[in-house]
């Protein structure tokens, strides 16, 4: 496969993610209905282009005129979002052809996933009519396309994700929504999100093909249940992986999960081992669960190409550095991350900084007793950053203890030192901040670090797993270095 996608294929997807105008078929004044919330979401998000509400009963929606049919809309329509009952979709598709729309997204559900012959047949007919009519279908049974940069919100929740370099394609609307919301606080920014549903027309391979060439996308995440054309998907995945990282979570990878999935998609299901092997061959990075997906995408976004991933770990900010160092060493070992000793000169200088408490001459440096001594922390980070054996700096910050022993102001100053060091930019910094009490002050710390471009992880284990993923990818794809990936 070539990297180049035909211009007309690219244009198809541009009309989906950057529509110039949208018709919302099934817009409703009844605010308990999805058609009402969706219309409101498009207005609230600040989408910059005409949104045409369509409902046979006409009238007005907020200040917008409601059109009685698609054909009644005066201007051209790029994207149709459909929330009407399934009984009416075939008629709508005829209207779409007449109106020469570019794409139709069906939130409407109740087709192939019901397992009922009648509705499977209608879904097949939908695909045929789209092909004949010269437009594409997203779905049915999905949340559809979102593009934060273009203010195209994710579904009816009126939330627009943070803009950024991550593309996400999902066979579950819920999982994609969860990832987007996690991204809001953890700083994962999205170029495009696509909830693709039953894939009667456009499938996961199609979306991946587009995101592989999309200049706004630097890393792609995929949540799969039962992809339809599995052979083509793996071909596209192999080619895409050579260009940028592809991170895959396969739902129903276990036998029990597969049994659950097969009942609603009827698609091919393979054993977990087979999937793992195939993903590896395709050069993709496998993750399990939405948290692992978020952890790994965040690191690709923030840290970019890392080949050796030797860590310099700074812990003991609030005392007990030795136990924190143990925890860090165990977590790194579990995921095959090497914790090399610092160079002799770094050790010597750190020892001078941290005094008696730093008799533990291990790589995770122990800054015990330094709490509040901002200058020493700053110097400590500088020393570790200057060590030629260190690729990534991890600061273990137990915010609960920090806030328990000190004021919020002192904690802010400490984080200010970390942010400043990160902005100097000689080496990427990751903060591990385990949750504990759910107080607002701690959340505020996390959010501020995230906003400053510093990836924050809730545990050493999760940070180590993500680092291992990034290291593995760039180890296999030396040429895939993506110099535009910013890590700040």
């Amino acid at each position: 496969m070539q990297y180049k996608l035909a211009d007309d294929r690219v244009r198809e997807f541009e009309r989906i993610f950057y529509p110039r105008s949208i018709a919302l078929v099934g817009a409703s004044k009844d605010n308990r209905k999805m058609g009402s919330r969706w219309a409101k979401a498009l207005i609230d998000s600040g989408f910059n282009g005409p949104v045409y509400p369509v409902n046979p009963s006409g009238g007005e929606f907020f200040t917008a005129k409601v059109y009685s049919s698609l054909k009644a809309i005066p201007g051209p329509v790029d994207l149709v979002i459909c929330c009407i009952p399934r009984a009416f979709v075939l008629d709508l598709l005829d209207d779409c052809a007449a109106k020469q729309v570019s794409a139709v997204h069906f939130f409407t559900a109740g087709f192939r996933e019901t397992g009922e012959a009648q509705w499977i047949h209608i879904e097949e007919e939908m695909a045929r009519r789209a092909q004949k009519g010269g437009f594409r279908i997203i779905g049915p049974n999905c949340i559809g396309a979102s593009c934060p940069e273009h203010k195209l919100p994710y579904g009816a929740s009126s939330v627009v994700g943070k803009p950024g370099p991550v593309g996400f394609i999902s066979q579950s609307g819920g999982h994609a929504g969860k990832l987007m919301v996690i991204g809001l606080t953890r700083g994962i920014g999205f170029s495009k999100i696509a909830s693709i549903g039953n894939c009667c027309d456009l499938g996961s391979a199609d979306f991946l093909e587009y995101m592989a060439v999309d200049p706004k996308t630097n890393v792609v995440g995929l949540y799969l249940e039962g992809p339809r054309d599995i052979q083509r998907l793996f071909e596209v995945m192999r080619a895409a992986s050579e260009r940028k990282p592809v991170v895959v979570w396969k739902g129903g990878a276990t036998e029990a999960g597969a049994k659950a999935a097969s009942s609603h998609t009827g698609a091919m299901m393979a054993s977990a081992d087979l999937w793992t092997a195939a993903l590896k061959q395709a050069g993709a990075i496998e993750v399990r669960g939405v948290d692992e997906m978020a952890d790994t995408l965040l690191l690709f976004q923030r840290v970019g190409p890392v080949r050796k991933a030797h860590l310099g770990i700074i812990c003991g900010l609030t005392g007990d550095g030795e136990s924190e160092a143990l925890l860090a060493a165990d977590a790194c070992a579990a995921f095959g991350i090497d914790v090399f000793p610092f160079t002799e000169s770094t050790r010597r200088e750190l020892l001078g900084l941290a005094g008696q408490a730093s008799t533990t001459l291990i790589s995770p440096s122990d800054l015990n007793q330094l709490s509040g001594i901002l200058q020493a922390l700053e110097q400590g980070i500088e020393l570790v950053a200057a060590d030629r054996r260190v690729d990534i700096i991890v600061v273990y910050e137990n915010a609960d203890t920090l806030l328990g022993l000190m004021t919020k102001e002192v904690a802010d100053l400490i984080n200010g030192v970390i942010v400043k060091a990160s902005q100097k930019g000689s080496k990427p910094i990751i903060v591990v901040s385990p949750p504990g009490s759910l107080d607002l002050e701690r959340l505020d710390i996390e959010c501020r670090l995230s906003e400053a471009g510093i990836p924050v992880y809730p545990s050493m284990e999760r940070a180590a797993k993500a680092i291992a993923d990034v290291k593995r990818y760039y180890g296999c794809h030396a040429e895939a270095a993506c110099p535009t990936l910013p890590w700040i």
Copy 2:
């Protein structure tokens, strides 16, 4: 080993966890010093008994008279908490003998952990003087004992954990503090917490021996780095495990971690595999990390004896139930938890409830489209609870989506249904509520469920791992059923 511990041994520990009076040696008026914060913590916590500040400079601390020495205190002293510099500890121990105290806890550090011969020797001398003086030592280099029921706070942070049935013994003061704080929001209640430090006198085996017979403790957690008398520890662990669950996290279990640990304790370190095997033989449950520790202790506390652990999983409250069901099935399979199909009659009735969306006839029931329909949720939970194949009910609640699609009031009503069902008490209910946006409303939901006695987990994986731990324990220790363990 017998379960019975000699009365005088029990009394030793009672003086530590339920001291009738405390002397704080090293109390200070300088609020940047630990001796000041510690004194304030004892006052703030509401400890019900005399607290005697001791400092050679005398004077007053808040309204309390400061005594110039331990011997100058008029009344008897059970527990001495020591924050003075290490140079003065031997003299203090002589005073302790003269004053006939029961125990001394040394927050003071800088002994064995420095690796310096001089200070190792002094630590050994401390133990000898305590033995000669007829009292016990906790530490040095630790946060010491806490007993929420007795308002004995954990260290100088003035936080007193929630009272409850969990005992915790830790070679890291930081990890124990983190667990206690996690407990505040997740509802883990503690009978006793002991940060035991260098263990020059009392060691992990001693504390475990006491907690094994303590009627207020139903489950014991242990964080170990390098226990001193490992053979005795495993003997005690085996006997304790027959009586109540013992959950162990071994820090430095990996080679890298062990290297980090050996530099400050010099204690025996074994490979991860050896530890795993030995813990299994001793009947203990192994966990890794503070989150896993919290997950498993919480379930022992709340759910108690469970042998089969067949789950009935309710998902799709906010739509997308099929993907949530897949996720649940995968997570259960990964940890060896069986997801049995419901009985035929349950299936039939659930189908009637959930309508078209529930064509997926798998055990994780899909209540898609039920959002807001409180009565249907209530009936759904009742149906699943009534199924004879179900031992534990898991409700997957995507609070972000819930709050995104509905108002907080509706979300509260939905959680009200879950709380009500849990209080009916026919079968234990667990809620899985994955974090996402960090907004206050979602945290409020989590805290309220926790306060209502419902264990809340951030992911299906973590719930499944904890369920597997509890199942394994009660599978091996049929006789250990602890009927006093409340699961509400």
